[in-house]
C-alpha cells in the first residue's frame, strides 16, 4: 500500500507511472486490433466472396464450370506412387489416367492411355499399345520406356512405396522391391518400342485390368519431370509442387494451398480433352463433417465427402433431391481371434453370427441405408453372388452354443470386444452387446483404443478376442473379399488358417474364365460361413450431399466418379 499513501494534492511519480501504464494497456489493445485488421486486410483474397460465388453459380452458360467438392483431408502428397489414402485417390483420378480407366457407370476397365491391349492365351503376357496422342500435361508424349521407368521407381527399395506389392504380380517385381534383384531389365516390364508396353506375370491374374483401372499404384508418372528434381527413386522431392507437377489426367494442378484447397484445371493436352466439360475442380480438405455439411448448405460446396449420420434423416425429409445414398463395396464385420476362448470353437462363432438382428441395427443405429451382411463377399461384385449365407434362427444359435458347452450362455467366459474410439462404433457395439446378452446369455465387455493403437493391436500384438473392423474394396472383383483370409495374409489377423481355403484360392488364380473362377469362390465363401472366422454385419453405403445441378454423376460401387463425364447444369 505504501506507494499509494501519498499526501493529498501531491502529483506523485506513481500516478504518472499509473497513467502511462494505462495508456500502454489501452495503446497495446488498440495496436493489436489495428495490427489484426491490417494483417486481415493485407492478405490477398484468393477466393471470391460469398456474394460473388452466388453470382457464378446462377449466371447463364458463359460462366466457368467449377466443381467444388469436399475431399475429407489434406492429401499426403500428389505423387501417385507414394500416397495411400482415399482423399489422395480422388485427386489422382483428376491428375492422372491409367493404361486403362474406369467406365463412369459400372467402373469396368475401358481404354485409357492405352487404346488397345492383348492378353496371351495363358493369361501371362499383357501387351498395351499407348495412344499416339497420349501426352503429359506439359505437352511431351507419354512413352512405353517411361512406363517401364515408372514401374522401376514404384518397385525400388529407395522409394519405399507402400503399395508396391500391387505390382508384385509381374515377374521379378517382388524380388526387385526386396533387393534380391537389382537389374530391372530382368523383371517382367518391357518396352517393345516407344508405344508398346509388355508386362509378363508370374501367374495369371484375372483381375489385373481392374486393378490398373481403379488403383493409382499402377499409374505411370512423368519420369522426365521426376528426374529433374532428384534421382528416379528419391523420396520427397519437389516434383509434386505447384508449378512443377505434371500429370496425364483430364485435369492438371493449378494451385495447392495446404489445408485450404487444391485447384485443378482442364488439361489441354489430355487425349480426350474434347469430352471434358468441367473447367476446374476445387478440392477442399474437409475434416469436420459438420463443417462440411454447413459448407454445402451455404453453397460453398457442390458435393460433400461424407455426411454426418444425424443429418441423413433431415435430408431425407427436407432435401431428398440432394441426398445420395449409394451402395459401397465394403463390409463392416467383427474379427474373431480364433486362438482365444470361447472363440476357438466355430459353433460359438456361428451362434454369435446368428444372434445379431442386422435389420434392427441398420434401422435404429447406423441409419445410413446399409445392407445387412450374411456373407463376407458382397453380393453382386462384378456379377458374383455368394450362395453360402448365414442362415438359421435363434433356436439354432442357442443349440450351437449348447453344443459348444455353454447352454444359455452358462459357463461362457465374457468376450472382450475391441473397437477404435468413435461414437458410431460404440453405439453398434452396445446394441450387439445387448442382443447377445438377451438372445444367448453371452456377456461382452467393451474396450476402445485410439486408431493407431487399435491397428497396432490388430496387426502386431493380436491382443484382442473380438475386434470390429471394415474392409473396403480397391477394385470391383470378388477376389478382394476372399484374398485376405488366406494363411499368412497381412490383413487376416484372425490367426485362422484353413488349408482347403488356401488351396482353392490358388486354384482360382489359374481358372480359365470368370465362371470357373466364381465357382471356386462359392466354395471359399461356403468355408467362411461354416468356419466364421469373421462375423459380417453390414455392407457399407456411401452417403453424400450432391447439388442437383451436378450431372453425369452415377452411383458406383467404389464411389469413384470419373470426372471427365461430370458437368454442372446452370
Amino acid at each position: 500500500m505504501r506507494n499509494f499513501d501519498t499526501p493529498l494534492g501531491c502529483t506523485s511519480l506513481n500516478s504518472f507511472r499509473k497513467l502511462s501504464s494505462i495508456r500502454s494497456v489501452v495503446g497495446f489493445t488498440c495496436l493489436l486490433t489495428l495490427g489484426a485488421l491490417l494483417t486481415g486486410c493485407g492478405k490477398k483474397d484468393s477466393s471470391p466472396s460469398p456474394a460473388a460465388k452466388t453470382n457464378t453459380t446462377t449466371a447463364p452458360s458463359a460462366t466457368p464450370q467449377i466443381w467444388r467438392v469436399g475431399n475429407g483431408a489434406e492429401p499426403q502428397d500428389l505423387d501417385p506412387q507414394t500416397v495411400t489414402g482415399v482423399p489422395e485417390h480422388k485427386l489422382m483420378m483428376a491428375l492422372f489416367e491409367g493404361l486403362v480407366t474406369e467406365d463412369p457407370k459400372d467402373l469396368h476397365p475401358i481404354p485409357g492411355l492405352a487404346d488397345r491391349w492383348e492378353i496371351s492365351a495363358d493369361g501371362l503376357v499383357y501387351t498395351f499399345h499407348l495412344r499416339a496422342n497420349a501426352k503429359w500435361s506439359d505437352g511431351t508424349p507419354i512413352t512405353a520406356p517411361q512406363a517401364v521407368e515408372s514401374y522401376q521407381r514404384m518397385l525400388s527399395p529407395g522409394l519405399g512405396a507402400e503399395y508396391a506389392y500391387l505390382l508384385w504380380f509381374a515377374v521379378g517385381a517382388e524380388d526387385y522391391t526386396k533387393g534380391k534383384l537389382t537389374d530391372f531389365s530382368k523383371t517382367g516390364f518391357k518396352a517393345l518400342d516407344e508405344r508398346t508396353l509388355q508386362i509378363t506375370l508370374k501367374s495369371p491374374t484375372p483381375y489385373l485390368l481392374k486393378i490398373i483401372a481403379s488403383h493409382y499404384a499402377w499409374t505411370i508418372v512423368p519420369t522426365h519431370v521426376v528426374k529433374k528434381f532428384g534421382k528416379l527413386d528419391e523420396k520427397r522431392t519437389a516434383w509434386t509442387r505447384t508449378g512443377n507437377h505434371v500429370g496425364s489426367g483430364p485435369f492438371q494442378l493449378k494451385d495447392w494451398a495446404p489445408q485450404q484447397k487444391i485447384t485443378v484445371v482442364r488439361n489441354p493436352h489430355y487425349w480426350d480433352a474434347a469430352v471434358v466439360k468441367l473447367d476446374a475442380i476445387e478440392f477442399f480438405p474437409t475434416e469436420d463433417l459438420g463443417t462440411e455439411e454447413r459448407m454445402f448448405r451455404t453453397g460453398q460446396l457442390d458435393m460433400t465427402y461424407e455426411m454426418p449420420a444425424n443429418k441423413i434423416d433431415t435430408y431425407r425429409k427436407e432435401r431428398p433431391e440432394a441426398l445420395k445414398v449409394d451402395p459401397w463395396l465394403g463390409v463392416y464385420f467383427y474379427r474373431c481371434n480364433v486362438t482365444r476362448a470361447p472363440l476357438t470353437d466355430k459353433r460359438v462363432r456361428r451362434a454369435l453370427a446368428l444372434a445379431i438382428d442386422r435389420e434392427s441395427l441398420i434401422k435404429n443405429i447406423t441409419r445410413g441405408g446399409e445392407t445387412p451382411a450374411y456373407s463376407v463377399s458382397y453380393p453382386g461384385t462384378a456379377g458374383y453372388f455368394p450362395r453360402a449365407k448365414i442362415t438359421g434362427d435363434l433356436a439354432l444359435a442357442k443349440q450351437l452354443l449348447a453344443e459348444a458347452g455353454y447352454p444359455d450362455g452358462k459357463g461362457c467366459p465374457p468376450i472382450e470386444l475391441l473397437y477404435n474410439t468413435q461414437a458410431n462404433h460404440r453405439a453398434i457395439a452396445e446394441a450387439i452387446q445387448q442382443m447377445w446378452r438377451k438372445n444367448l446369455g453371452v456377456e461382452i465387455t467393451l474396450r476402445n483404443e485410439e486408431w493407431k493403437v487399435y491397428l497396432n493391436t490388430q496387426h502386431v500384438t493380436k491382443d484382442y478376442t473380438l475386434q470390429r473392423a471394415g474392409w473396403i474394396a480397391d477394385y470391383v472383383d470378388p477376389h478382394v473379399f476372399l484374398e485376405i483370409w488366406t494363411t499368412g495374409n497381412g490383413n487376416n489377423d484372425t490367426l485362422w488358417s484353413n488349408a482347403d481355403y488356401d488351396r482353392l484360392f490358388q486354384a482360382a488364380l489359374t481358372a480359365k474364365n470368370d465362371t470357373e473362377r466364381y465357382e471356386i469362390y462359392q466354395k471359399m465363401d461356403a468355408i467362411l460361413v461354416d468356419e466364421m472366422p469373421v462375423i459380417p454385419i453390414y455392407f457399407y453405403t456411401k452417403v453424400h450431399a450432391v447439388s442437383p445441378r451436378v450431372k453425369g454423376y452415377y452411383p458406383t460401387l467404389l464411389d469413384n466418379h470419373p470426372y471427365k463425364h461430370i458437368y454442372l447444369e446452370n
Binding site: M1, G9, R17, K18, S21, I22, V25, T29, L32, T33, G35, A36, L37, T39, G40, K43, S46, S47, S49, P50, Q76, D77, D79, T82, T84, G158, G160, A161, E162, A164, Y165, T177, K178, K235, R236, R241, A257, P258, Q259, Q260, F284, P285, T286, E287, D288, G290, T291, R294, M295, R297, T298, Q300, W451, K452, V453, L455, N456, T461, G490, D493
Partner: protein, 305 residues
C-alpha cells in the same frame, strides 16, 4: 531488470531440453507408428521405409541425430506429408495461427475489459447482472457450440459470410469472434473482480475526495490495479489462444498450426509432434517471462529479484 530477464532466459534452456527429450521418448513408446495403416504394410516395404527415415537405427542414436539436426535448426521431414519438411509446415502455418490468435486476443481484451469494468463500476445494478451473466454464458458455452451457432446465423441464415475457410478478410470474422468471446468471458470476470477490489481501496476514496471525476477515477486510478489479474491470466491465456485453437481451426477449416499440433500426435508424425511441441513450449516459457516482467512493471509491490 535486465539481469532478471537474462537469468530467466538462461533457465529456459534446461526446461526446453527436458521437454524435447521427454517428448522424443514418449511419442516413441506410444503403440503404432507413422506407417501403421488399416491395410497392413508388407514387412519388407516397412523396412525400406524405416531405413529411409533412419527409424531402423537404435533409439539413442536417433535421439542424438535429432538433437544434432535440431542444433542446426533442421526439424526434419514430416512423415505424414512426405514432400514437406517440418520447418516448412511451421513456417507456412504459424502466421495463420498467430493472426487468428492476435485478432481473437484483441477481441477478447476489448470485450472483456469493457464488460468487466462496466460491471464493477455499476456493481449490483442491472448492468452488472447483464455483463456478469453474459460473461458466465461465455465461459459455459464451448467454442464447438458457439462456432457452429454463429455459422448457422451469419452464414446459413443471413448468407453474409462463408461457413468456413480462411480466404478473405471476411473469413476472419466468425472464427476470431468465436475464439475471442470465450477468452473475453474470462477476462471480463477477472477485470470485474480486480476492479471491485481496487475500487474499495483507500486511495480511490482519496481520489474521489479530491473531486476527481468518475471517469478519471476509473480509468486513471483504478484500471491499472484492476487489470493485474488479467495480466497474469494473459501469459497462459495467449499461449492457450495460440495452441488451443485446434477446435476453431477444425470447425472453420483454418490452415493453422493448432490442427497440426493435435493431428501430428494421431498420425504419429514424430518429427512434426516434436517441432510443434518445441515451438509451443518456447512460446509458453517466453510468454510467462514477459508476463512476469509486465506484472512487476505494473505492480510496484513486486521487485525484480
Amino acid at each position: 531488470m535486465l539481469r532478471f530477464t537474462f537469468r530467466r532466459l538462461l533457465q529456459i534452456i534446461p526446461v526446453l531440453w527436458i521437454i524435447i527429450t521427454a517428448t522424443f521418448f514418449m511419442i516413441r513408446f506410444v503403440p503404432g507408428g507413422p506407417f501403421t495403416a488399416e491395410k497392413a504394410v508388407t514387412p519388407e516395404i516397412l523396412r525400406n521405409l524405416e531405413a529411409h527415415y533412419g527409424l531402423n537405427k537404435p533409439l539413442h542414436q536417433q535421439y542424438f541425430d535429432y538433437m544434432g539436426s535440431l542444433m542446426r535448426g533442421d526439424l526434419g521431414p514430416s512423415f505424414k506429408y512426405p514432400n514437406r519438411t517440418v520447418n516448412e509446415i511451421i513456417g507456412d502455418k504459424l502466421p495463420t495461427s498467430l493472426e487468428l490468435g492476435f485478432i481473437s486476443l484483441a477481441v477478447a481484451l476489448t470485450i472483456g475489459i469493457t464488460l468487466g469494468t462496466l460491471a464493477a463500476v455499476k456493481r449490483n445494478s442491472w448492468l452488472d447482472y447483464v455483463c456478469s451473466s453474459t460473461a458466465m454464458i461465455g465461459i459455459c458455452v464451448p467454442t464447438f457450440v458457439l462456432g457452429p451457432l454463429l455459422v448457422l446465423t451469419f452464414a446459413i441464415r443471413f448468407q453474409w459470410l462463408n461457413a468456413s475457410g480462411w480466404y478473405g478478410p471476411s473469413d476472419r470474422i466468425l472464427p476470431c469472434l468465436t475464439l475471442g468471446c470465450v477468452y473475453a468471458a474470462y477476462i471480463a470476470r477477472l477485470t470485474r473482480g480486480g476492479m471491485l477490489e481496487v475500487l474499495n481501496q483507500d486511495y480511490i476514496r482519496t481520489a474521489r475526495a479530491k473531486g476527481a471525476s468518475e471517469a478519471r477515477v476509473v480509468f486513471k486510478h483504478a484500471l491499472r490495479g484492476g487489470l493485474l489479474p488479467v495480466v497474469s491470466f494473459l501469459g497462459p491465456g495467449i499461449a492457450g489462444i495460440l495452441t488451443g485453437s485446434f477446435v476453431i481451426e477444425t470447425i472453420f477449416q483454418i490452415p493453422g498450426l493448432g490442427r497440426e499440433f493435435v493431428n501430428s500426435a494421431f498420425n504419429r508424425d514424430y518429427t512434426l509432434v516434436l517441432g510443434t511441441v518445441i515451438l509451443y513450449a518456447s512460446l509458453i516459457v517466453i510468454l510467462n517471462l514477459v508476463v512476469d516482467v509486465v506484472q512487476i512493471w505494473l505492480n510496484p509491490k513486486l521487485k525484480f529479484e
